[in-house]
C-alpha cells in the first residue's frame, strides 16, 4: 500500500499542534503507516524521521508521548539519539524509555546505560528497570556499582540483576557490600529475591550445582525458625530449590 505523503504531512502538522483533548482522528494516517512500516523500509525510514522530529522543542508532552508510542513499534537505532535526549527530562523520560526498551540493538541499551550517570532518583530507577527488562548483560558492572548506593536505587539495581539472572549477576549480588545490612532491610530483601530468581534460572538451565549453592545460602540466612510471613516465604523458596536440586547432589555424592 503506497502512503500518500500529503496525508502524512497533514497528520504530522496536526500532531505537532496536538494536546490532550484534541481530536486524534487526524492521526489515522500515522497509525496506518505504523502498521505498514515494518514491511516497507522506505516508509519506515520516513516515518521514523518524522516522529523523531516531534521529540524536539515545541510539540506538547501529549504529542511527544504519541511519537514515543509509535517509535516503540517501528523505531530503529536511528531514533535512539532523539529519544536519549529526553531521558534526563522528568516529563519525558518514561516515554523515551517506552520506546528505547523495545528498540532492539546495542544502541538503545547503550543510551540507557549512558543515561544512568546523568540522572538520579526515580529517573535513574526507571533506566535501571529498562536495562533489566532488556536483559542487558553489558549493564552488569553499572548495576553492580549501584547496589552500594541510595537505598531505592540499590533495590532497583538488585531487581535488575535478578532479571538478568545470570551466574555473573548472582555473583555480584552475593558479593555486594550493602549499606543496608539488616535482614529486614529493603535492599537486603531485594537481593534475596534477585538471588532466588538467579537460582531458579540456573536450575532451569541445568546448572543444578550453582542453583543449589544459592538456595543453601539464602536458606541459611533466613534460618530454621522464620517468624514472619516474608521469612517463611523465603524459606519455602529455598527449601523448594533444595528439593529440586537434591537428585544431582545425591547422585554425585
Amino acid at each position: 500500500m503506497a502512503f500518500d505523503s500529503a496525508l502524512l504531512d497533514a497528520a504530522f502538522t496536526a500532531l505537532k499542534a496536538f494536546d490532550w483533548g484534541a481530536d486524534a482522528a487526524a492521526f489515522k494516517p500515522i497509525d496506518e503507516a505504523t502498521i505498514a512500516a515494518p514491511g516497507d523500509a522506505a516508509l519506515r525510514g520516513d516515518l521514523e524521521k518524522r516522529l523523531t522530529a516531534v521529540l524536539g522543542a515545541g510539540p506538547s508532552r501529549a504529542a511527544k508521548e504519541y511519537a514515543c508510542r509509535k517509535l516503540s513499534m517501528i523505531g530503529t537505532a536511528g531514533a535512539v539519539p532523539a529519544l536519549a535526549a529526553l531521558l534526563p527530562d522528568k516529563d519525558h523520560s518514561h516515554m523515551a524509555r517506552f520506546a528505547l526498551e523495545r528498540i532492539g540493538g546495542p544502541e538503545a541499551a547503550d543510551a540507557l546505560r549512558r543515561g544512568l550517570d546523568g540522572v538520579a532518583g526515580d529517573l535513574r530507577i526507571g533506566m535501571i528497570s529498562s536495562l533489566g527488562a532488556r536483559r542487558d548483560a553489558a549493564s552488569l558492572p553499572a548495576l553492580t556499582k549501584l547496589l552500594a548506593g541510595d537505598e531505592k536505587v540499590a533495590v532497583a539495581a538488585a531487581e535488575a540483576l535478578g532479571m538478568l539472572a545470570t551466574a555473573e549477576a548472582d555473583a555480584a549480588l552475593a558479593a555486594a557490600k550493602l549499606t543496608d545490612t539488616k535482614p529486614s532491610g529493603a535492599v537486603a530483601a531485594a537481593v534475596v529475591d534477585a538471588r532466588l530468581a538467579c537460582a531458579d534460572a540456573a536450575l532451569a538451565a541445568g546448572r543444578r550445582a550453582d542453583a543449589r549453592k544459592i538456595y543453601e545460602s539464602v536458606g541459611a540466612a533466613v534460618g530454621d525458625a522464620p517468624k514472619t510471613h516474608r521469612d517463611r516465604a523465603v524459606r519455602i523458596a529455598a527449601r523448594r530449590g533444595l528439593f529440586a536440586t537434591a537428585d544431582e547432589t545425591v547422585a554425585s555424592s
Binding site: 490532550w20 483533548g21 484534541a22 486524534a24 502498521i35 515494518p38 501529549a62 508521548e65 504519541y66 508510542r69 516503540s72 513499534m73 517501528i74 516529563d91 523520560s93 518514561h94 516515554m95 524509555r97 517506552f98 528505547l100 526498551e101 523495545r102 532492539g104 526515580d122 529517573l123 530507577i125 526507571g126 535501571i128 528497570s129 529498562s130 533489566g132 527488562a133 531505592k152 532497583a156 531487581e159 535488575a160 530483601a189 529475591d193 532466588l196 530468581a197 531458579d200 536450575l203 532451569a204 522464620p226 514472619t228 510471613h229 516474608r230 521469612d231 517463611r232 516465604a233 523465603v234 524459606r235 519455602i236 523458596a237 527449601r239 523448594r240 530449590g241 528439593f243 529440586a244
Partner: protein, 434 residues
C-alpha cells in the same frame, strides 16, 4: 524447573500460627496454672470474638485479610470475604478516599469496632505481618506488580480478572507464586458459574472430540486522549497511575464503572485490554475451560481480512474470535451458550469429572479460602489464568499488527517476529518495576 509442590511445608494446614494444632486458644487452655498462667491471666482480656463461638472460628483460626482496590468490583470482593466467618478482615487500601472510607466502614460495621486500617499505599498494607492474604481489584495495570509484591511478602492473593495486561506478566506472576509457595487465585467467577450448559456436555464427552470453539467478544482498548481536568483532592492521581504513563487526570480516564465505551479505565490501553480481556477473561476463559484447554497456550494466531482472529492450540482445536461457526458438518455436535459455541465431532468420548471449587459450596471466594487453608491450587490458579489470558493477548496483538503470528510457549516469545515481540510488554513508569 522448581517442582510444583503444592504443600506448604512451613505452613500448617490450618491458619493458626506456629506448630500444627497450636492455636492461641489452645495455648491459653494449656496454661492452666503456675507462672505461665499468671503471666497470661492478668491483665489479658479475651474478647468473645477472639474466642469464637458456635458459628465463628476463634481469631487464631481465621484468615486475616486485607483488600487493595475497593471500588466497584473490589467492594463486591470485600463483601464476600467479610461475610465469611473464617476471615478476619483488618485493612483496606485504595487511592480514592471515598472507596477507602467506604471499605473501612463496611469492615468496621461487620467487626463491631473501628479497627480496620485504611491505607493509600498498598506497600504499607503488604508490610503488615499479621495479614495472611489480600484480595486485589485495582485496574489491570497494577495487577502484576501488586501480586508479585504480595507473594514476596508471604501473602496469598485473590486477584480479580483480567489477571494480566501483557504477555510478560503471566509467567512472572506464576514464578512468584510457585517460588514463595503462595496460593494465587484469579477471579473470574463466571468461568465455572456461567457456562455450565456447555461445560457439562463437553466434559461429559457428549460433544465428542472438540474441533472448534467460537467466541463473540468486544474490541480491544484504545488510546486515551481525554482532556485534562483539575485533579480532585480525594484521589492520589500519581499512585492511581502507578506504572502507567503519566497523563492528566480526567474522570472518564479513571472511572471504575464496568463500561468499555470510553468512559472508564477499562476502555483505555494503558490500564486495560478493553472488552477483549475484560469480558475475554470470562467468555474466553469459559470457552477454554469447556474445551479443556486451560493447561495449554495457543501456537498460532491467524488474522483474517474481516479483522477477526483464529487461535490454534497444540491439539488442533481452533478458537475463533468473532467468527461465527456457519454450517455444522454432518454428524458433528454443537453446543451454544451465551457468547460461546463449541463444535465437536459428535463421537461420544469418555466423561471426565468437571473440576470444581474446593469449598464444596460452589463459591470462588470459598475456593480461595479453602486453598489458603489446605495449600491447594484453586480452580483459577494463576498458571491456568495466565494460560487463558494468553488467548486475548494474542488476539489483541494480531489485531493491532493486522497479521498472523506464531507463539512459542516455551520461550514466551513470538517466533522470528521482533515486531510482535515488542508488544509482549511495556516499560513501566518510574519508580515502578516489574
Amino acid at each position: 524447573m522448581v517442582p510444583s509442590v503444592s504443600d506448604d511445608h512451613d505452613r500448617p494446614a490450618t491458619p493458626s500460627r506456629g506448630a500444627v494444632g497450636a492455636t492461641r486458644r489452645g495455648f491459653l487452655k494449656a496454661a492452666g496454672g503456675g507462672a505461665a498462667a499468671t503471666a497470661v491471666a492478668a491483665p489479658y482480656v479475651i474478647t468473645s470474638t477472639a474466642l469464637g463461638n458456635a458459628t465463628t472460628p476463634p481469631a487464631s483460626d481465621r484468615i486475616v485479610m486485607g483488600g487493595i482496590g475497593i471500588g466497584n468490583m473490589g467492594g463486591g470482593d470485600q463483601g464476600a470475604f467479610l461475610s465469611r466467618p473464617d476471615v478476619q478482615y483488618v485493612a483496606v487500601c485504595d487511592v480514592r478516599q471515598k472507596w477507602r472510607e467506604q471499605g473501612k466502614d463496611k469492615a468496621d460495621a461487620k467487626n463491631g469496632n473501628k479497627d480496620c486500617a485504611a491505607y493509600v499505599d498498598f506497600r504499607e498494607l503488604l508490610a503488615r505481618d499479621d495479614i495472611d492474604a489480600v484480595h486485589i481489584a485495582t485496574p489491570d495495570h497494577w495487577h502484576a506488580i501488586m501480586t508479585i509484591a504480595a507473594c514476596r511478602s508471604g501473602k496469598d492473593v485473590y486477584l480479580q480478572k483480567p489477571e494480566t495486561l501483557t504477555l510478560r506478566e503471566g509467567p512472572l506472576m506464576v514464578a512468584a507464586a510457585r517460588r514463595y509457595g503462595r496460593v494465587v487465585s484469579g477471579g473470574s467467577q463466571r468461568v465455572l458459574g456461567d457456562y455450565r450448559p456447555i461445560v457439562d456436555p463437553c466434559w461429559a464427552g457428549e460433544v465428542g472430540t472438540i474441533r472448534s470453539v467460537h467466541v463473540a467478544l468486544g474490541a480491544p482498548s484504545q488510546p486515551c486522549y481525554l482532556p485534562a481536568q483539575p485533579t480532585p483532592p480525594d484521589i492520589d492521581w500519581d499512585l492511581w497511575l502507578g506504572p502507567a504513563p503519566w497523563e492528566p487526570y480526567n474522570s472518564g480516564r479513571c472511572d471504575g464503572n464496568f463500561g468499555t465505551g470510553g468512559n472508564s479505565w477499562r476502555s483505555y490501553v494503558d490500564y486495560s485490554g478493553g472488552s477483549l480481556t475484560d469480558w475475554g477473561a470470562h467468555h474466553l476463559g469459559g470457552a477454554i475451560f469447556a474445551a479443556d484447554l486451560r493447561e495449554l497456550q495457543p501456537v498460532k494466531a491467524t488474522f483474517h481480512p474481516e479483522k477477526n482472529v483464529t487461535l490454534t492450540y497444540p491439539n488442533g482445536v481452533e478458537l475463533h474470535y468473532n467468527r461465527p461457526p456457519g454450517d455444522v458438518p454432518a454428524g458433528h455436535a454443537k453446543v451454544s451458550h451465551s457468547a460461546i459455541t463449541i463444535i465437536g465431532d459428535g463421537r461420544p468420548r469418555e466423561a471426565k469429572p468437571v473440576p470444581e471449587y474446593r469449598d464444596g459450596e460452589g463459591n470462588i471466594y470459598g475456593d480461595f479460602i479453602a486453598c489458603v487453608k489446605t495449600r491447594g491450587r484453586p480452580f483459577r490458579d494463576i498458571e491456568l489464568a495466565a494460560n487463558s489470558m494468553t488467548a486475548p493477548h494474542l488476539i489483541g496483538i494480531s489485531l493491532r499488527l493486522e497479521r498472523s503470528l506464531q507463539w512459542d510457549r516455551a520461550a514466551q516469545q513470538f517466533v522470528n517476529d521482533a515486531e510482535a515481540n515488542r508488544l509482549c510488554d511495556r516499560a513501566r513508569r518510574e519508580p515502578w518495576i516489574l
